[in-house]
């Protein structure tokens, strides 16, 4: 027994030392130092067709930066599956990169940890000022009323991609502008093994993006002003039901889509199995699937009536990637210089062109490349009819609970179980209750 107690005591003591000594982040709450001014570590997200492709795209740019400033940037492209956990581990321990890409929907969550450098007036001035950026993009970089935790890097929005030939075959001349038209067109297309619309029913983030925009159209936010979840409001229930009904009632989404989570809907589209997808910047994927640019068209995501705009005519979330500086950096000045470099007009044009995204920097948007038809739709949507996802600290919980609810409802619909207002409300009620922790 003595041994047990001794072992327990040793374990406890060492554990407490470990916890007490773990203030990796606490030592430099003020925002970094300049201990190692000659190097930077940069975690990039996977934007291109593969990790290797990203390295090839970014390395020459980093070389340029090194030439300009003498700072060597160590690049690591972190796969999406690992990125958030890597950031989490870095936050916990204080051991992380100097500069990193984050999905813009994570901005508020990460902001709450205090791990990222806040972009106040002074910091923004160091990279050319806040006015250089599109407003909606900056709004997606942190909670309202606080200094953003990151700077927009690549922006995206949702658009309706449609297969021109399938439309022509069904005798449809125009892409649908309202949901009613979409359903009517969809019914014409959905037969003989062909389907009108694709969905990623098991992809939680995608589900959230779709129901968020639909929610806006029903006048629903998923959070109130105080940041409390309001998943069960009539508008939210109607939005989720409308999305599920595309499969359950309108039968314009193939049941198989309920299990899609790895962009299978894009493959179906490229193969001519489905005629439409709601997606952000799908051009490069279509090309890699063997589609020619003239095979497909792009239109704004439909709205209830009229044309896309603000309020109930919003039709997209502000999607995109932000670039952030890790508070524990040992090269704070270099890190800011690097952000300045990455958000410079020249780099913005070049990188966004390569990735098929829209520059969040106004001046860079002037480039004619961003007026090509597909990117233009994305750009206009961003400028006029997109809103950021709720910038709340527990955004990831929102994605998980509501995303899972939508996934479950899709599974019901696919299995032929009825989806009613009550069942949608019940699923959302459960999701909301799980937020209560």
């Amino acid at each position: 027994m003595r041994t047990v107690r001794a072992a327990a005591a040793i374990a406890l003591a060492s554990a407490l030392t470990a916890v007490a000594g773990c203030g990796g982040g606490s030592s430099s709450g003020g925002g970094g130092s300049n201990e190692s001014p000659k190097t930077l570590t940069y975690w990039a997200s996977n934007q291109g067709p593969s990790i290797e492709a990203d390295k090839k795209i970014l390395t020459p740019e980093l070389k340029k930066f090194e030439k300009e400033t003498g700072i060597k940037v160590k690049l690591e492209v972190v796969p999406w599956a690992d990125l958030l956990n890597r950031i989490l581990a870095a936050t916990t321990s204080g051991q992380g990169p100097d500069v990193l890409n984050i999905g813009n929907t994570w901005s508020a969550s990460l902001q709450a940890t205090g791990a990222l450098l806040p972009w106040d007036q002074k910091n923004f001035d160091a990279i050319g000022g806040r006015d250089r950026f599109v407003d909606s993009a900056v709004a997606s970089a942190g909670a309202e009323g606080q200094d953003p935790s990151a700077v927009p890097l690549y922006s995206l929005a949702y658009a309706l991609y449609y297969n021109k030939k399938m439309f022509a075959d069904a005798g449809i001349s125009q892409p649908p502008a309202t949901w009613d038209q979409l359903i009517a067109d969809g019914r014409k297309i959905s037969k003989d093994g062909k389907w009108a619309l694709g969905a990623e029913g098991a992809n939680l983030s995608n589900n959230i993006h779709q129901v968020f925009a639909l929610g806006k159209q029903h006048g629903a936010d998923f959070f109130d002003k105080a940041g409390k979840p309001t998943f069960t409001s009539d508008g939210a229930v109607a939005a989720v039901k409308q999305y599920i009904d595309f499969m359950a009632k309108d039968k314009i989404i193939a049941p198989g889509n309920a299990e899609y989570a790895q962009n299978q809907s894009l493959q179906d589209f490229a193969k001519g199995k489905t005629a439409m997808v709601l997606w952000q910047a799908a051009a490069s994927t279509f090309a890699s699937q063997g589609m020619k640019p003239e095979d497909w068209g792009v239109a704004p995501v439909p709205v209830p009536s009229g044309t896309p705009g603000t309020g109930q005519n919003l039709n997209s979330m502000v999607a995109g990637i932000n670039i952030a500086v890790f508070n524990n950096t040992k090269n704070i000045d270099g890190a800011k210089k690097f952000v300045k470099f990455m958000t410079s007009d020249a780099e913005q044009k070049l990188l966004n062109k390569t990735y098929g995204s829209v520059p969040p920097v106004k001046a860079a948007q002037e480039d004619p490349a961003f007026s090509a038809s597909d990117v233009k739709v994305l750009r206009d949507t961003l400028a006029t009819s997109a809103a950021p996802l709720p910038q709340v600290a527990n955004e990831s919980q929102f994605e998980t609970t509501v995303g899972t609810a939508v996934k479950g409802l899709f599974a019901d619909a696919a299995a032929g179980k009825p989806v009613t207002t009550e069942s949608v409300k019940a699923a959302l009620t459960k999701a909301q209750q799980q937020m209560a922790q």
Partner: protein, 336 residues
């Protein structure tokens, strides 16, 4: 028949330990320097194992227990020491089975229990069957042995993603066979969402773990002295009888450990459901490991996730204690 003594190797080891232990001590007693050396030696031999276990397992476990009493959310993730003390709040939420969080945990726990029992039971059954059937030499034996070990040699990610590929609704092999070719189902089934996901999970887990049971049991079979079989067959015992009276009892000590670790691993298995279903498992296949992952990593609420883990630890400790008590009865000799 009745002459067949069935000394399992476990019994035998136990017996020798008992008698020899005393005998050895008796023999060694007069040689004092020897005794002193042996006094410290076992600890020295254990030292590396103890240090590593302490570092990698025990300290993190103790930290985990500490965290379970804390309100460790993303606001305090940078400095754990500052997280507010939560008392038993995390536990209260976890075991309040009337509220949604507790309910979900209970559901997940029950799913995990059913899953574990099925997967371990079948893995053992497949493993022992294959091991016994390959015990004797025949043509093709070593080829089969290799084939059986193949699932074990594939990286988990590769294997599970292949199963996910096969279980697809529209394009998967399983539906192709069941629906297109055999016509066993009225329409293609969903395997990765909905209730069938439980079956898919069991199949993948079984496929992944039975080769391990096979490997361990096959090695154990090598320890059975051949004269036992020879004696038995001279006494006229047939092959089924030999399996029943010699082989199976001989496997007992290995089984004891094997079933226990299979149980613990399967219960805590994270890789399989994670690769098969992604970050959110369907309700029917919501294993506790994924559930806890969601309650901590996805939502960054580590206090709550840790409390659930501690509850799980207590449950597994209890099960293990009962299991060891039941399986060790009657063979105390070999026990420590």
């Amino acid at each position: 028949m009745t002459v067949i003594v069935t000394p399992s190797s476990g019994h035998k080891a136990g017996d020798t330990e008992k008698t020899d232990g005393g005998g050895a001590r008796g023999r060694r007693l007069p040689r004092i320097p020897d005794r002193i050396r042996q006094g410290g030696l076992p600890y020295l031999l254990l030292l590396p194992a103890v240090v590593l276990e302490l570092l990698i397992h025990l300290i993190p476990m103790v930290i985990g227990i500490w965290v379970s009493f804390r309100q460790l959310t993303q606001f305090f993730i940078r400095n754990w020491g500052n997280s507010p003390f939560a008392g038993f709040d995390n536990y209260k939420i976890a075991i309040d089975f009337d509220a949604p969080i507790g309910q979900a945990l209970l559901h997940s726990f029950l799913v995990t229990c059913a899953f574990t029992v099925l997967s371990v039971g079948l893995s053992w059954l497949f493993g022992v069957t294959a091991a016994i059937m390959l015990q004797e030499n025949f043509r093709g034996r070593s080829v089969l042995r290799t084939i059986f070990l193949v699932p074990y040699a594939l990286p988990v990610y590769a294997a599970v993603i292949t199963w996910a590929f096969m279980f697809q609704h529209d394009n998967g092999l399983i539906n192709h066979v069941l629906y297109d070719q055999l016509g066993l189902t009225d329409r293609p089934s969903f395997w990765l969402i909905g209730n069938n996901s439980f079956i898919a999970l069991v199949v993948v887990s079984l496929w992944k773990s039975w080769p391990f049971a096979f490997l361990m049991l096959m090695a154990a079979l090598q320890n059975i002295p051949r004269d036992l079989y020879e004696a038995a067959s001279i006494d006229g015992a047939g092959i089924w009888q030999q399996i029943r009276t010699i082989t199976l009892p001989s496997l007992r000590p290995v089984n004891q450990v094997l079933v226990l670790v299979l149980f613990l691993w399967t219960f805590n298995d994270f890789n399989t459901p994670y690769v098969l279903f992604g970050k959110s498992a369907p309700e029917a296949a919501d294993l506790i490991s994924i559930h806890i992952y969601q309650s901590s990593f996805v939502t960054w609420n580590f206090g709550s996730g840790s409390a659930m883990s501690v509850l799980l630890l207590l449950f597994l400790l209890l099960v293990t204690a009962v299991y060891l008590f039941l399986t060790s009865r009657g063979r105390k000799g070999s026990d420590v």
